[in-house]
Symmetry: C2
DNA sequence: ACCTGAACACCGTTCAAGT
DNA sequence: ACCTGAACACCGTTCAAGT
């Protein structure tokens, strides 16, 4: 709405900057260059404007990030959720993970700034609901959600750093350490080198997620029918 | 050794700077003010020196962090490890978690820079060894370690941000969101407010850790004797 | 209403020069 | 051997001023 003209009906020079334009430029930098390259000064240069002009349209960098994050989550497809509660819990966690895996810059924003949007709340609500449907008490369900969240965010962060190192053509310090191990001091790790590298490369979020969820369900162990697994 | 005199036997004006002095000043800033306040310039001022003088003693900020982290892990008490493999795995994870919980600045260093020290390797080796003793294959053991690590680092990061917000007298965005929920849109979350706040405040790492470990053991399900839990 | 310039208070790091 | 000053290339943000 009126992104090129100040008042409807009145033609005029389009505004050079607008919230929308700023947001989409910022998103471009984030996805193409990563969160570490988004700065107000850089963004202004990108738009051939000045850093201070941005401050007319957004309060500060934090607000900018929040707006970007909200726009992202709002665009989330409202996935079909399975009926079986354990499956529903898993699906919720997968959606959460998938969304953030597609959008690495958001991982840091979400962990360090800890922003919240309504769509995120919807997802959390549905996961806790599923946990309750699995037979958990309210307290257990909230706790289960938290454990799943810790696992998810941890996996994403490690993944993010791996990809950053990759982009710079480096190895992760862990990879370096594994490659130059003293086999006398660390006989087991030395023998596991290949598994380590292989596991680091693959995507095992789903597999670990099932272990976490089933561990949580077994801990409650109130609903033997749904807590079981093949 | 020779922290105040350049050459043994030769008395003289003590060097104003030294690696040790730099490291301990840096550690003071980190523990008392947090990682976000440690900068080369700030550190130099603290020691009534100049930023550039530091660069004679350490290569760059990254090396400084690595040295600090190594010093920390080297000081780790070599804990007595239980014999029972599941307990040993749990004990390893607890040690890892406890060490980082005591040392919040290291959490960020460890996740974002991903440093590795020999003591950390020892701990990882012993955890993987315990996992194998639980009946896991090498591949499963490495994978189990990773899942535990993700969970641990995720818990620590969320905790860190909570404490940072506390120190600034703020609420976490999640706490704010929970307090201003629309009960019609999120009926379950609205009812769970109290559990949420309570769980966020307490330390439930151990409880979640057991769920994660038992979930992993059940997934392997090769060693029924050790995979069970009371 | 929208944008600019200059300024403030920061970063990490390099490099030639001093003692 | 150890340290300094000046400089480079960055940050986020404020504030008074311009059109």
């Amino acid at each position: 709405m009126e992104s090129w003209s100040q008042r409807p009906g009145r033609l005029g020079r389009p505004r050079r900057l607008s919230r929308e334009a700023i947001l989409s430029s910022a998103e471009r930098i984030l996805t193409e260059e990563g969160a570490e390259h988004l700065s107000m000064r850089r963004l202004a240069k990108e738009m051939s404007s000045t850093p201070m002009a941005l401050y007319y349209h957004v309060k500060d960098k934090d607000e900018l990030l929040t707006l970007l994050l909200d726009a992202r989550t709002e665009r989330l497809p409202r996935a079909e959720l399975p009926h079986e509660p354990r499956e529903r819990l898993l699906a919720g966690a997968r959606t959460l993970h998938g969304m953030l895996a597609d959008c690495p810059w958001a991982v840091e924003a979400v962990t360090s700034e800890d922003h919240v949007s309504a769509s995120a709340l919807r997802l959390v609500e549905s996961m806790i609901d599923a946990a309750v449907a699995c037979g958990m008490s309210h307290e257990e369900a909230v706790y289960a959600y938290r454990v799943i969240w810790y696992y998810t965010i941890g996996e994403l962060l490690v993944r993010l750093n791996r990809e950053r190192a990759r982009r710079k053509g480096e190895d992760t310090p862990w990879e370096r350490a594994m490659l130059s191990l003293d086999p006398d001091a660390f006989p087991l790790l030395a023998r596991l080198r290949d598994q380590w590298v292989e596991l680091a490369a693959g995507d095992h979020h789903q597999r670990g997620l099932e272990a976490v969820v089933d561990g949580l369900l077994a801990q409650g162990a109130v609903c033997p029918g749904t807590a079981g697994h093949p």
